[in-house]
């Protein structure tokens, strides 16, 4: 997930904090109050949030690349406009999230540098390539679909600016999910070649989508703390199960086969059972070994470096104008 904790076990916080402040903070969080930027908060809470929100922002921005890859090749004008608007929305999400993270005292520049140096993570899903037009459908349907599963509960996350950003973002993500599914529907109602494309996209994106929810709960060291702080509201496995339960019937409805021989409805549980996830692959992608991880980072770094003179010029110009204004007063 964009927000899945991809770091290892966090160091216990070394700073001694006033127990009365900590207790008051914990009580507010337990009471579902929003914590606002000016409120006192434990350092570990702040750090966890900066890590999570900036990772989420990076995921939105890096996530523009696999889909941006198809804007110039979209099959008709309507699809081109929808995709362009969608990728633009993702950029907007990145922007709100960087702003939310900045309220915690870390600048956008610092966050971007952390991304480019490899210190900060982004969702593993964007290190898989988009090979055919069907991948654009699969990403909207599955990746945005998974994002919604994760982000709907975050609308009630304890940090106010993050929760409010999520409200806005969730609305747009559900459009994206529907538009993606609609691409898949059109392909599945199309020619043999189109159906093949659609099935192949599901085959490739299914497991990486399940991995987006992060490691299983028994191997997710920071989940308990995050849930107690209401930064997170459901566990990785709970969200993953929800996603499978919702998505499998959608695949069946358009004649696609989910690539999991172990998948079956379990009446007793009221859920689908599904096969084992290849966690070795997941951790390899987290380490930066995804097929197109190098391409993604190279593209981001190049855009940033190529744009440096533009940012400098804008700043220099603003300063000149400011100076001229002062001189005129």
């Amino acid at each position: 997930m964009y927000t899945t904790d991809l770091s290892g076990k966090q160091q216990a916080d070394k700073i001694a904090e006033d127990p009365a402040l900590v207790a008051a903070f914990e009580a507010r969080v337990a009471n579902d109050d929003f914590i606002e930027p000016k409120d006192w908060m434990p350092e570990a809470y702040r750090k966890t949030l900066v890590r999570q929100i900036s990772q989420h922002a990076h995921s939105e921005i890096v996530g523009m690349l696999p889909e941006g890859n198809w804007i110039t090749r979209a099959p008709n004008l309507r699809r081109k406009a929808i995709l362009l608007a969608k990728v633009q929305d993702e950029g907007g999400h990145g922007l709100y999230l960087y702003c939310a993270a900045e309220t915690l005292g870390t600048s956008r520049q610092q966050m971007i540098e952390a991304l480019h140096s490899g210190k900060a993570k982004y969702s593993t899903i964007f290190n898989y390539p988009t090979l055919t037009w069907a991948d654009i459908g699969a990403i909207g349907w599955l990746v945005d679909g998974a994002a919604i599963m994760n982000q709907v509960p975050l609308q009630r996350t304890s940090y106010g600016p993050y929760a409010r950003a999520m409200v806005r973002i969730c609305k747009e993500e559900s459009f994206h999910q529907r538009q993606g599914y609609e691409i898949m529907m059109a392909l599945c109602a199309g020619t043999k070649d189109q159906k093949r494309m659609a099935q192949d996209a599901l085959d490739r994106w299914w497991w990486p989508s399940l991995m987006m929810f992060g490691p299983p709960d028994d191997n997710s060291p920071n989940t308990a703390q995050s849930i107690r702080w209401r930064i997170k509201r459901e566990t990785n496995d709970e969200l993953r199960q929800k996603f499978v339960d919702v998505t499998v019937p959608q695949a069946e409805a358009i004649g696609l086969k989910v690539p999991d021989p172990a998948l079956s409805w379990n009446d007793a549980r009221g859920h689908y059972d599904f096969g084992d996830i290849d966690w070795d692959e997941f951790y390899a992608v987290v380490r930066g070994e995804g097929l197109v991880a190098k391409e993604r980072m190279t593209a981001r770094i190049q855009a940033w470096e190529d744009g440096a003179w533009v940012r400098e010029a804008a700043q220099a110009h603003a300063m000149k104008r400011e100076a001229a204004k002062l001189a005129a007063e």
Binding site: I71, T72, R73, P75, A81, D306, V310, R311, A314
Partner: protein, 252 residues
Amino acid sequence: MAKASTLFTYALRLGDDSLIIGQRLSEWCGHAPTIEVDLSLANVALDQIGQATHFLALAGAIEGKGRDADALAFKRDVLDFTNCLLVEQPNGDFAQTIARQFLFSHYQALLFGELAQSKDERFAAIAAKAAKEVAYHANLASDWVVRLGDGTDESRTRMDQGLQWMWRFVDELFVMDEVDAAAQKAGVGVDKAALRAAWDQRIDGVLNDATLARPASRRPALGGRKGHHSEHLGHVLSEMQFLQRAYPGAVW
């Protein structure tokens, strides 16, 4: 009353201009200097794709041979594309993209302002909506010309080079050939030649703010309206049309 073939070509040219610059701008998506710039370029691209869709649909309707906007966008080759040479020019660096947008958006703003008064309500309606969009594009591009021109030494050099690249394609925007003349005579089209003075004034005003010199006049590069393009358009089309060409008859 203008001939249908005249109005078809007239609508096609408007649609092709918007389509090709929209396609060019969308190449930036995900690669711009800041997120804010990325969003604003995508906005302009979206408006242009929207205008293209309307004008090409109108062209198809006038033609009456069952070609819709997609058929016109995705199933014609270079010789049948009628966009001006300016819009197909490569993005280059950000300054080159801005130079192209600056020159083109001010032209579009003046053009659509007039076209909104067209006797043909179909053209007038599309132009009236588009006029608001392109007025915003012209402002956006002008602001960047000023920032880059009056920014750092590097940005100034790049802005100047961007304008130098694009300037030879300016005259083509205002050429009135037989199609334009016939459309204008019928009260449908615009006297583009008459827009030139206002365009010059707008451009010079912004260049002045930007402390940039106006590039020297030179022999104009022409041909786009008749399908005689630069080498760039073929590559733009081969990318844009790939799916429609590879899977004929498929519905997406």
